[in-house]
């Protein structure tokens, strides 16, 4: 029995040159190709519905290793495509059609919206800015043996209060820092701060933001970030990018 296949769409962009991406492997192993519709080009690959069909996806999406591999491959293809054009709108993971024609039909339906999105991200990239609260040196509580249970509890309470207050202040500083960076970007989005378990850092994340920055002004943006580094010594600022404009390639209406 010949297994059924589908068309997996990674992104839609303008002025994409198929040759540059030739040989690039897509999710599930088949080669990435391009299909054109009007002046838009969709970056796609053929997927086996044994792995990417409805029933299979329901199963596979519950397997973190599968999700990770697929997400990384999806991201890789999007990055490679973004590298060869100025305007690219990534699609959400596992957007799959029955055929190339079906994908084109959907792109036609969304044509006006996609053009708007592409105009918005054209010659711009996404930069991730994460802010961590630097660990403060807290006077060691263990030096002096607790004289009594009550004294110990009181000291613990004071410590917790101090820590909460410090965390609140750092959160306010991180919010301020975000607003300091806003003028350097064409658009911004705040993502939920990530848990320490994921960042692998002891310091809590106070800000997880994305900035859509003009490619020709990225140096200015870095300068702005460096200035804030000096202004907020208690915060550790991590800049990461450029990302394809994932956070900004969103449709205004569903």
């Amino acid at each position: 029995m010949v297994s059924e296949s589908g068309t997996y769409v990674y992104a839609v962009g303008r002025n994409l040159d198929e040759e540059v991406l030739s040989g690039l492997e897509g999710v599930g192993g088949s080669s990435v190709r391009m299909i054109s519709h009007r002046e838009l080009t969709a970056v796609v690959s053929t997927v086996d519905l044994e792995e990417f069909g409805e029933a299979a996806l329901r199963r596979n999406l519950e397997v973190l290793a599968w999700v990770e591999e697929t997400a990384r491959r999806h991201d890789e293809v999007v990055r490679r495509a973004a590298a060869i054009t100025t305007a690219l709108a990534p699609f959400r993971l596992v957007t799959i059609y029955r055929s190339d024609d079906a994908a084109c039909d959907r792109i036609e339906e969304l044509y006006d919206d996609l053009v708007l999105v592409l105009d918005r991200v054209d010659r711009r990239s996404e930069w991730s800015v994460k802010v961590f609260c630097r660990a403060r040196s807290v006077p060691s509580a263990t030096v002096e043996a607790a004289s009594s249970g009550v004294a110990y509890l009181e000291r613990r309470r004071a410590e917790i209060r101090d820590r909460q207050q410090a965390a609140g202040e750092q959160q306010m500083l991180a919010d301020q820092l975000f607003w300091d960076l806003v003028p350097g970007a064409a658009a911004t989005r705040r993502l939920p701060p990530q848990d320490q378990k994921l960042t692998g850092r002891r310091e809590p994340m106070a800000l997880n933001a994305s900035f859509l920055v003009d490619d020709e002004h990225s140096t200015d943006f870095f300068e702005l970030v460096n200035e804030t580094r000096a202004r907020y010594p208690s915060l550790d600022i991590e800049v990461n990018g450029p990302w394809p404009p994932y956070s900004f390639a969103v449709l205004d209406k569903p």
Binding site: L57, A83, R92, I96, R98, S125, P192, D195, G241
Partner: protein, 110 residues
Amino acid sequence: MSEPTISSRRGAFDRYGSTSPASRPDGLADILERVLDKGIIIAGDIRVNLLDIELLTIKIRLLIVSVDKAMEMGIDWWRHDPMLSTDAQALADENRKLRERVEELERDGE
């Protein structure tokens, strides 16, 4: 920090490609919060049960957002969900080994 080059066909891979490892974030959380939550979200022909996807994103989000918060809310089933981390599996294995060891010791003690 290097300035990103404006993309052109030549040397294009410098912008997002593999030639500059520093600009390639490896964090799975960074990727997942973008590829699952952002980008163009439209229905494909292959309908994935949205509830499943929601569940998936909720599960991952619990990890991305805040484990502390989840625990405050009394949600901790994810700790035992092997899908969420290899840690959970490792923990399960470790627990099993420890239980076996305890049984062994108890037997020896008798």
